[in-house]
């Protein structure tokens, strides 16, 4: 394993620049309109898989700066292209798996760049008493000053002396400029983007704890001079109004919510922000502005919860339930994607609209400018408070004799409740003709996206009525599937016949191998997880499960004990298909088990793995759904 990692590092270092690949193979095709403008090298009418992270914070975010993050948007874009940058705890961070294809810095728009200004001599902001407290050497004062900022972000009531729009707008302009500077069409794509940081809570007193309604806002090209924040309104529907206005102004934009798992049931609640019933206008506006949801990131996975999906043996994956900055547990209903798909279908059948007709992506939410995508090379996400294995609870506290003997202090408490339960970062995959802002943003719009828990596994998913087994062995598989069907993210309009689906997954060549591919079927009154392709043999038709492939991990070295599949491919038809009934289908790909980050860190430390978190995980990918809609 070590040799393999070293070898990879050596190869990755071989090249630091170069032109993108051209494809002499490029036969002309007509699947999907090519984006405007000249094609870049690598253009593929049948679309390439590109990987990126759409959720990155830098020093300009108030909660990153306070945790000693000093890296800038420039550093973030350099990191994504393979350069090494420093973590606030002093060690080097280099991206696992080689450079990414796209990356977006999404600093919190609330008080954007204000904390750095408060800590810069000569500025008026640095003269504020709050600045003196915030950057004092007394933890109580730092905490009180910081909590005050969090409370303001949550309530939407600005701290007037800190709400310096000149500074905020100029730092926003700097972030836009950094995105423009590092954008290299055909090679590396960036977006002007930021995070809208809405949090609900019943508790009136200070702090940041509450139901997470955060969303990241992305501009396809040009961006306005001011970013809408909770200090304008904490209501996401007001954000959508503002986005509609930007779009009317020629600035195409979309937003992507995240951490519905800790939204306290608010993210997919069946009411508006102000408690009114949902209606068609709400659904239309929501889907116009939010075609995608971030389904997994460091602070947990939002696909589903064991309480919602008791028959899904893989539902208990990186579940994280404590509200932001709090030990209160998030409500389950209204917090998970699969349930939202079901409720969306129910609304559609009963009332004629679906506000949850969204696709899936994943990201890191790193606050240290660079995501930790590999379990084997993990640095969590906040900054100095989770920058060491002790701080994140993967190894016992110094001086203790083992896991039964942990002292009762704040470090251990935070690690137990928060950091030990966080995961390695996710990544977004998109199918796009080329690596440009236009092509990738268009893929977001048509939801031709998939989410992974970190590895760069690739998944194709097509639905259609004319597919046959022969296509699986045809060199033109993707081309024919685009011509005769629709890809992930699309609506499949019924013709009376049963559709079939092409499901095709390929491992990350530099990560683990595949165990199985599943289709998750959701209807208005139920859900089912069906294995459709297995590393070993075919699924048992009665249980709809693969037989156990016996995969395991050597816990002394974290080396997989056996090989799974390099790729899995199948033509699948729903055995319970009902032509008259709406159904939502998405694909879940599972790797063989591998060590969780906490196990890697324990192994390196020579101590037993933390007992209250899993020692191994099954990395996975989720596609955006295909929605079957009965004809007429």
């Amino acid at each position: 394993m070590l040799n393999r990692t070293t070898a990879l590092a050596a190869i990755l270092l071989l090249a630091s620049c170069g032109k993108p690949a051209a494809t002499p193979d490029g036969e002309s095709a007509d699947s999907g309109a090519p984006p405007a403008g000249a094609q870049t090298a690598g253009y593929n009418p049948d679309r390439n898989a590109y990987f990126g992270d759409l959720h990155i914070h830098t020093r300009s975010s108030f909660d990153a700066y306070i945790f000693n993050v000093r890296r800038t948007a420039d550093d973030a874009y350099r990191f994504a292209q393979g350069e090494t940058i420093q973590h606030p705890s002093g060690f080097d961070m280099t991206i696992a798996g080689g450079p990414l294809d796209f990356y977006a810095v999404t600093d919190h728009s609330e008080y954007l760049g204000i904390l750095p200004a408060m800590n810069t001599p000569g500025t008026a902001l640095s003269e504020l008493p709050r600045a003196k407290d915030m950057f004092s050497t007394e933890p109580e004062k730092i905490q009180a000053a910081f909590q005050g900022v969090g409370a303001s972000v949550r309530s939407g009531e600005p701290i007037s002396e800190m709400y310096d729009l000149d500074t905020i707008n100029s730092v926003w302009a700097q972030n836009i400029a950094a995105a423009d500077k590092y954008y290299q069409p055909g090679k590396f794509t960036t977006f002007a983007a930021y995070e809208f940081t809405s949090v609900t809570s019943e508790t009136p007193e200070g702090g940041f704890g509450g139901g997470n309604l955060h969303r990241n806002v992305f501009f396809k090209g040009a961006a306005p001079f001011k970013a809408f924040s909770t200090l304008d309104s904490t209501n996401p529907e007001d954000l959508w109004d503002w986005m509609d206005a930007q779009r009317a102004n020629g600035m195409e934009v979309l937003s992507i919510p995240h951490n519905s798992n800790v939204s306290d049931g608010q993210m997919f609640r069946l009411e508006t922000y102000n408690g009114e019933p949902l209606d068609a206008a709400y659904a239309e506006q929501r889907m116009r502005n939010e075609p995608l949801v971030e389904v997994t990131q460091v602070k947990g996975t939002s696909e589903t919860h064991p309480d919602l999906s008791p028959n899904d043996e893989w539902a208990n994956f990186e579940i994280y339930e404590e509200l932001l900055g709090s030990h209160a547990v998030s409500a389950v209903q209204g917090s998970y994607v699969r349930e939202a798909y079901r409720n969306g279908l129910k609304l559609q059948e009963d009332e004629g609209f679906d506000p949850f007709h969204f696709g899936l992506i994943a990201s890191s939410d790193s606050h240290v400018a660079g995501g930790a995508y590999s379990e084997a090379d993990f640095w969590s996400k906040v900054g100095i408070i989770d920058g060491t294995p002790v701080a994140r609870g993967s190894v016992p506290f110094p001086g203790s004799t083992g896991w039964d003997d942990q002292p009762d202090n704040l470090i251990v408490e935070n690690a137990t409740h928060w950091f030990s339960r966080w995961s390695a970062a996710g990544l977004t995959g998109v199918w796009a003709e080329e690596n440009t802002r236009e092509a990738i943003f268009d893929a977001f719009r048509r939801k031709e996206t998939f989410a992974t828990t970190g590895p760069r596994m690739k998944v194709r998913f097509f639905g259609g009525f004319g597919f046959d087994e022969g296509m699986l062995n045809s060199a033109d598989l993707a081309h024919t599937a685009y011509e005769d069907g629709i890809p992930m993210g699309g609506d499949l309009i019924g013709s009376g016949a049963a559709p079939s689906f092409i499901v095709w997954a390929q491992r990350d060549p530099n990560a683990g191998t595949l165990q199985r591919v599943q289709v998750v079927k959701v209807t208005s009154d139920g859900e089912e997880v069906i294995d459709v392709a297995c590393d070993n043999g075919t699924p048992d038709p009665s249980t709809r499960r693969c037989t156990d492939n016996g995969a395991s991990v050597d816990m002394a070295t974290c080396t997989p004990a056996n090989q799974g599949a390099g790729e899995l491919k199948v033509l699948w038809t729903d055995p319970d298909f009902d032509a008259a009934r709406r159904a939502t289908y998405y694909v879940r790909v599972l790797e063989n088990p591998s060590c969780r980050w906490s196990t890697w860190e324990a192994m390196r430390n020579g101590t037993p793995p933390r007992p209250d978190v899993p020692t191994t995980i099954q990395e996975r990918a989720y596609t955006s759904p295909i929605w079957y809609i009965p004809g007429n």
Binding site: A7, F67, P509
Partner: protein, 287 residues
């Protein structure tokens, strides 16, 4: 028990790291006192007391949730000395103040001033050539390969994949169409000028290494194994890594030189200011 009980558990644990740090610090600060041996007056001496050290360590522990190691303590004291030296220099230039916050701000202000004092210089031809010669890796185009590949899936063919590939090698030599050979592949079948690093990202390291060593040829070669299965490859071009000629790289060389020069001149100016001070750390005999 001892009066250690009256302290927070953190402070009790701090004792031992501090001892290690004091030993480690000897080496570093001895160098400083050498350069500042002639400046013995009080204004030119920075004292770091035992209680300073404990305060730094406690603050680090509070912020990071972990106790500082030797390297951490060294970095903290380094920063402190640097900030203190720059702050004193700022005061000498006419500003004045007293506490930690002001000291930190003055140090930052001084850092900005030092940066501002260093105007961008215009490098001459000789400087640029020397920079180019000294950093060839920064101006080198990576090895790139133009190739076509056909794929034999082990997931489909099992142990026959290699034999099937070998059989296909003969068929391709006799003019079979490569587009209709092998199994469907999710990535592309042909790539132009693909850097080896990209090949590793798409096919895995093993395949990238194998291709890097294979010559361009009109004949199909292989089988070559990747993380995804078995492949036959037709390499039409294998361009070794090559140094970009100076004239083509001139703009990149200038930008690189300017970035690095600015950074290092700034650091040197700050080091020069810090060097004007003598450093004394309680418990460390640097003389």
């Amino acid at each position: 028990m001892t009066d250690d009980n009256s302290q927070s558990p953190g402070l009790r644990l701090l004792r031992e790291p501090l001892v290690h740090f004091v030993l480690a610090a000897l080496a570093v600060f001895a160098a400083w006192s050498f350069t500042s041996a002639l400046r013995e007056d009080a204004d030119r001496t920075i004292h770091v007391t035992q209680s300073d050290l404990e305060r730094f360590a406690a603050l680090y522990a509070a912020e990071s949730g972990a106790l500082p190691g030797d390297a951490d303590m060294l970095a903290i004291v380094n920063d402190y000395v640097r900030d203190e030296a720059l702050a004193r220099e700022a005061r000498r230039l006419g500003l004045d103040a007293g506490d930690t916050i002001v000291t930190r701000r003055l140090a930052q202000k001084m850092t900005f001033m030092v940066s501002d004092l260093k105007e961008d210089s215009e490098p001459d031809e000789k400087t640029l050539r020397a920079w180019y010669d000294a950093h060839p890796d920064r101006f080198t185009e990576p090895q790139k390969i133009t190739f076509t590949q056909v794929y034999f899936s082990e997931d489909v063919r099992g142990a026959n994949a290699v034999a099937d590939a070998q059989a296909a090698l003969g068929a391709l030599a006799n003019g079979s169409d490569w587009r209709q050979t092998g199994d469907p592949f999710m990535l592309q079948r042909a790539y132009g000028d693909l850097p080896v690093r990209e090949i590793a990202r798409l096919f895995g390291v093993e395949f990238a290494r194998a291709l890097a060593d294979m010559p361009a040829s009109e004949s199909w070669q292989g089988p070559v194994r990747s993380a995804l299965g078995v492949h036959l490859v037709n390499i039409s071009q294998n361009t070794p890594a090559q140094l970009t000629p100076f004239d083509e790289a001139r703009a990149a060389v200038t930008a690189d030189w300017r970035d690095e020069t600015r950074r290092s001149e700034n650091e040197a100016a700050i080091r020069e200011i810090v060097g004007r001070y003598k450093v004394e750390i309680e418990g460390v005999d640097a003389n």
